[in-house]
Symmetry: C2
Subunit: 101 residues, 2 copies
């Protein structure tokens, strides 16, 4: 057992694209870059087929709240709802255990 394990947080973002993707890729690249610069950011994984799954990892709930409220991110969230996604779901999770192969 890894006694050094410190709980951290995951944001699971699951989404379906709409038919309007103009400007989406630029936004996605910009937001990924910006997220990486935020305090408390730990990492990010993404994959997309029928649905997209992006999981980002954070040191604390505070760092997640701050990123959610970042002004550029608020603009991206609004555009996302208006243009690029027909549906999305966000889950805020506490990572309690982890193992790797």
């Amino acid at each position: 057992m890894n006694t050094k394990f410190h709980p951290y947080y995951a944001v699971i973002f699951t989404s379906k694209h709409s038919n309007t993707l103009e400007g989406y890729t630029e936004m996605a690249i910009q937001m990924e870059q910006l997220a990486k610069e935020q305090p408390g950011f730990l990492g990010m994984d993404s994959a997309r087929n029928d649905i997209g799954i992006t999981v980002s990892y954070w040191e604390s709930l505070d760092s997640i709240t701050q990123w959610k409220q970042h002004s550029d991110h608020l603009v991206a969230q609004r555009k996302s709802r208006n243009h690029w996604y027909s549906w999305y779901n966000v889950k805020i999770c506490k990572v309690e255990r982890e193992y790797e192969f």
Copy 2:
């Protein structure tokens, strides 16, 4: 605020395929079907590009442990390590908040 929200659990499975994928698709379909039949199973999302991300959702930590120890699943885990994945990571998380668009 959704006062009806009950915490539940997410297993984030992140993986990289090896070059040996013979038998993989059959196993993946079989395991997804079997997971859906387990007590406490709530849902599952998957996507794969460079990496694969599969997130499954469960009512309790107990239901996750039981699924991890299911005999057919143990066989699949062993084959996965020996054949189909060069790397994988499993995170057990408590879903604390959720919102949807």
